[in-house]
Symmetry: D2
């Protein structure tokens, strides 16, 4: 008889404690010198528990104050790093590929709730911040596989639960590449025609900052902490190491092939999502929650050379590969909204998929608000429900064409256009109060029409 | 007993005749004054037949010469316009919504083949024209629902067959909006930082041209023809009237809700695709074919106001809505490639989904070429197979993150990364000759690194 | 350049002609000596056209008279046999396996309609003949992939179109086995306790009969015809050669591996179904239609020994294997009705899946009749819509448990039980006249309660 | 802010304790007088934990001794009954319908394993006990959603996890009906032609027995216990109250509509299955495990009259209705085996779906054993993997036709028949020892050929 295969908890979370009080300290930066907190072997299934990305900063209260004044410097609280060894005890090596299977996942028991929020325009905003500048929040409750929100009534859907963040530690060389290229975009960005006009109110990059920095076992305030904190990359964008991929289909049974840049791979995970729509448009936009992952690792020795192609000037310019799992919720009917790269002012953009997707999302928001929702409610919903954002056409000059497909069965009402006038019956959602703060900033006034959207 | 419901052919095609010799003349421009060639009533199922978008210009020969010297002014040959009346004989009116159900579709009997091609960089190019400047072509043969190509061996897949183009005639007012905004992008485009650098070799817009213009029943050379030809919009980009949407899931059983801008709606269709990948990246990039549509129309009176929201300065700035059909091919396993908005030179772009998608596609091309394919073969394949292009993250500054998901079962080989070295067996595709022309243009030389990609 | 792959029509049907007037004569029996009417090679796609199983005997008229007096001796009209050779011209041999891919299929152009019917109890009946003794018929019209019936309003669904019959010719030895075992059941059946009680009014077997016999190229009335007609097996039951399998998922892209019993395999097909429910309970119970198949054959030499196991006293006691295709209609919600092996009188049967399934179907009929349908309408519907009949439990003595799962989206109404009383709205189908004849037979009167159900 | 929605555990299980030592006592019989152990209100999500059906009697040891000598009198250990009240505190009443949603489910944490077994022919046997008389067992380990077994190598699949048993307490009247009809089958069964021949070695019914009886809070040995134990129905067959339905698709997000026969409904659950094939052919045949259910109840007042139809002599002869959930594993390719109602001796049975399904299963076993498995391994596998057992044809006299569809992706090897000889590579599974006991009984010898199968 074999020994029990019960799942080893390598990173436990105590929900009654704050992030910095956890038994194994959390971290919220990428750096090769953040020490591993646990060790696993290939082939074994192990469990990692995680706080929500805000470490409890965003609460279950029906208020948007916590969103409005959220501290962006502390995101995302990650669990790990976990050092990975093969069955003989030899660590993963730079150049290997780390295959991470997500055997199971879910919210932490006793913490079956989540939130979706729009940041205030002055505090990070979202994809549509020019349209929705106010901090707004919806609370979701989970009933097993289903989520519902008192703030977005008439909707209930099964989650396609996944980790927003799964990544390996970067090497110092890769870290330098990141910091350099992101510094450049921040410095030069404002001169760029497009950026000034359309997206000027959102941060151009998120550069290293010692403020709010957690480095796991590295004691805060020590010289080592200072050095690392000044170098360590923020976790906000996805990069070569995986990281904040926000791939909404990365659910149960999926597998990620991550490049290894440091000895032991140093795998970190966090930012659990009960559900997310493609694009995560509201930014704090999935159904954010605490959670657990049950993982199994394999090492493909020299797998980077075998399977990944450097796609930039160095061999480090690679991207992970993903395999999608077999148990996604099944939807059969979809309503699809389209956007083309003509902006709200009527101005033509050239094959710009970001503009096209923005239009598709705005289009869907307007449509669904006809059923009794406020636009903020729909914006939040499309950010977190299992909707699909596609690049449908990217070659037909001058219009990029993006689509947003929404599964119709998540709504109590039939939201499809009706050929015939339907008999009396429920047509409208009752529109409740939704936690929202007023926007105190100043909306830009400019003669350029696209700046006022 | 009811009368037979056999499907009325309202636009027949004779494959032995050229586009201009067809019984009902074709057109390749959008204009309110192109007269209808047929009339249908709501509720009846009718059949429209169509030549391929090139009207036979691209042939079944195993050569890329026809691609290299293709005349871009003649695309796309459309069938129609079809005037739509309600059961009482009253035409669809501006402000109505025309619901068009695609009851059935397919290739024209006896013409069960198609092609996928890359245009020469000097002749339109494609999404990756800077990487693949040469005219290249693959021929596909159909075996019922399946397609295979002697030029891309080891692949066979069921088609998600759909029309690339389905649209209503624009009003004069809408046509003016189009012409104005597209002229502006062409005129101002070259000054734009981004455009000069990354995409300068592709046309910025496709403005009206009398060259190659077909206007259906309007006789060529007449003053009326001259006037309309100078005003009529090209069919290349998708726009407010639907048009070249290239939504790859618009298959059997789907429904399109099109805005009506002129009396009778004047519905035109064309550009049939046996299959397409999201983005249609190679540009001539679906499996292009002749084909038929069996359609059924309904009119939702005043539906534009009821269901569409003007999303620009005028009430005409609207987009159609789509419902996806219930009989798409079923795939269970997907391999997913990621791209972030860092370009080939290592330069950071700000939340640019077009750059991210470009990277995801390049990534997938490099990966699959490890199995014995040339990169051109994979580029063609990813343009036409049922792969999904997603905007996964569009908020995590500075990286937009796009993904390309490929169904693994379309390949004879198992293309997934292997944990263990597999035993001897077929690992590589035999790499045949593929029709390709040399590129005679001059690749740009510039100091800006991203321009040399 | 390769030659055109256009699909060769090897068996054409002229819809204006009667079965016996077709260019290539049809047959309605299985016998090794029915001569092939066409020849194909492996690898080529060929087209076979077929009349409906009744050869036009059941008409489009809104009457059930044709059903009531239908001649059961003439079913099913098959097209073929088609002789199959390999690429070198050598025929398939006994012991080979014939892999038949269904590349495409559909109704014959211009004949887009079908029927579903219940036979009169005295004329063959159906699975529930004791409950529904009257001849009844519903006509279905096709709109591309969809079917609807004026006789069963409020329902529209996509077809999972398939051939009811696909089979190879039996050898004389196999034919003798069939005739012997079926004769035995007919002779001994009436003494069987179970049979007398429950199913006595249906034919116990369908033995060879010269009446109504068509043998293709064998001229009627000749001595050869007489001999063959007396030996040839009826096509009603599925057997070792495939035949009337009625596997409802055998749609586009499926593959059948058929045993070969005679030189050339002699493949015959017929009984096209636009759609069928598992069990085809009404007997004439799919949406019966004329149609075409586009097929591609391969020969697996000696494949019977390699892949099939004799499961009875001789090496001929084998069954075909099937692979299901990738383009079935997608349904996401199912309502499931259960039956256990306790019959209508309350009597317990021992692990009898036929009784359990009968109960599940009766249960579903009663449930759906609450929405305004007659029971006959539901019986017809469940016989032809894409519902799934499962053997859920076959071991829990004494109850076999069968289930019938119905996709909810085929109904206009929401047919699920409602927790809350729903607001006013459409709850009931308008119940039209359905073609039905009175039952002139005499229902059995007996003291055994289960005989009166 | 609303109060926490954390899931209330109403029936906890301590895995270190035996069934009779649990805090809330278990029961293994159906009777109206078994007192509820917990109470819930409609709308709340509550958690019920359960031991495996054998209460730990079948162990993790690699031996089949525990199967061979298993005590059939103690199955199945159920948790509950749970009394259900509406939000006002009024209990569910006879005549109501209890809608039970399965919000979530899974194995008990720390107990992630299960077993599939064949009972010895003398001890209950299975569907194929005449072919496989020996007690045999396979252990499965769970890796999140996946299960694998060291005893059936080369197979790994995602579970479609579900409760085998979910039922309400019967009224005394209903209980009497059950006992009467099952006693009759046991008494008269042996005279029945069919039963003697084909299935004589399996128990004909499972009548009440005081041996092994657990009645929850009713103290063993008391007069009340004696009375109830003599009346209480065994849990083995599914019946009017739901019970041992073994519907393999009753997974996450499903809903059961159960008739209410006693005040408070008295809901009991148990027999958790990680996965099961349709039919559960090996009898102890799912992947049996301990587990939890998170449930939510609603009461449809007078719902029995509104939605259920009495299908026998009394208003109690009803069956529950089921809705299938949206998160089943997704499979795209199936290999389908067929069986007709001709038994192993070549004898024809009349439209007997049980015989046809037996043949389909035997057929599949023989096929898969060609890949290196023993037949016992395949029998166990087909009993527990997500294969579909269909009644494909039940009307084509004399052959019923059943099919067994197996998802091909659960195997490491490609199990499909091959047109071309494949190159070298893994073709065969290594065939390990599987725990199995010898069969000490005496196989029947009789001249009737079907008795020797």
């Amino acid at each position: 008889m074999e020994a029990s295969r019960g799942c080893k908890v390598v990173v436990p979370i105590d929900l009654k404690k704050k992030p910095r009080e956890q038994k194994l300290p959390l971290h919220n930066r990428w750096h090769p010198d953040i020490p591993p907190v646990a060790e696993v072997r290939t082939g074994e299934v192990f469990r990692v528990e995680m706080v929500d990305f805000s470490g409890g900063g965003i609460t279950k209260e029906y208020t948007a104050e916590d969103i409005k004044y959220a501290d962006p410097s502390i995101v995302h609280y990650l669990s790990g790093p976990v050092r990975v060894l093969d069955v003989d005890g030899n660590p993963a090596k730079p150049g290997d590929l780390l295959a991470v299977e997500i055997c199971n996942l879910g919210p932490l028991p006793g913490d079956e709730w989540g939130f979706t929020a729009i940041f205030d325009r002055e505090n990070g905003g979202g994809f549509l911040t020019d349209h929705f500048p106010c901090a707004t929040k919806a609370i979701w409750y989970f009933e097993g596989i289903y989520a519902y929100s008192p703030h977005i009534p008439g909707v209930r859907f099964p989650g396609l639960t996944h980790p927003g963040i799964v990544g390996t530690a970067p090497s110092m060389e890769l870290l330098n590449i990141w910091n350099e290229r992101e510094r450049e975009v921040e410095e030069t960005g404002l001169q760029s025609l497009k950026l000034c006009e359309v997206l000027h109110s959102r941060p151009l990059a998120n550069l290293p900052s010692t403020k709010g920095c957690f480095l796991g076992k590295i004691e805060e305030g020590t010289p080592e902490w200072e050095r690392i904190a000044r170098e360590a990359a923020r976790t906000i964008p996805g990069r070569e190491n995986g990281g904040n991929c926000d791939i909404k289909n990365l659910g149960r049974g999926s597998k990620v092939y991550l490049p290894v840049f440091v000895d032991g791979a140093n795998l970190s995970t966090g930012d659990m999502h009960f559900s997310q729509g493609d694009g995560e448009v509201a930014f704090c936009g999935a159904i954010e929650m605490s959670g657990f992952l049950e993982l199994k690792c394999e090492i493909i020795r020299d797998g980077m050379k075998e399977y990944l192609t450097p796609m930039g000037p160095t061999p480090l310019h690679v991207n992970p590969i993903f395999e999608i799992g077999p148990v996604e919720p099944r939807f059969s009917e979809w309503l699809v909204f389209e956007g083309i790269s003509v902006d709200e002012s009527g101005r033509q953009h050239f094959l710009d998929a970001s503009v096209a997707y923005k239009r598709a999302v705005l289009n869907a928001i307007d449509y669904l608000s006809r059923f009794g929702y406020t636009k903020e409610q729909v914006y939040l919903l499309l950010s977190c429900c299992p909707c699909e954002g596609r690049i449908s056409g990217i070659v037909d000059s001058p219009n990029a064409l993006a689509t947003l497909a929404i599964p119709t069965s998540i709504f109590d009402l039939d939201i499809r256009p009706k050929i015939n006038k339907v008999p009396k019956g429920p047509r409208l959602v009752r529109n409740p109060n939704i936690p929202q703060c007023s926007y105190d900033g100043k909306l830009p006034t400019t003669k350029n029409p696209s700046a006022t959207t």
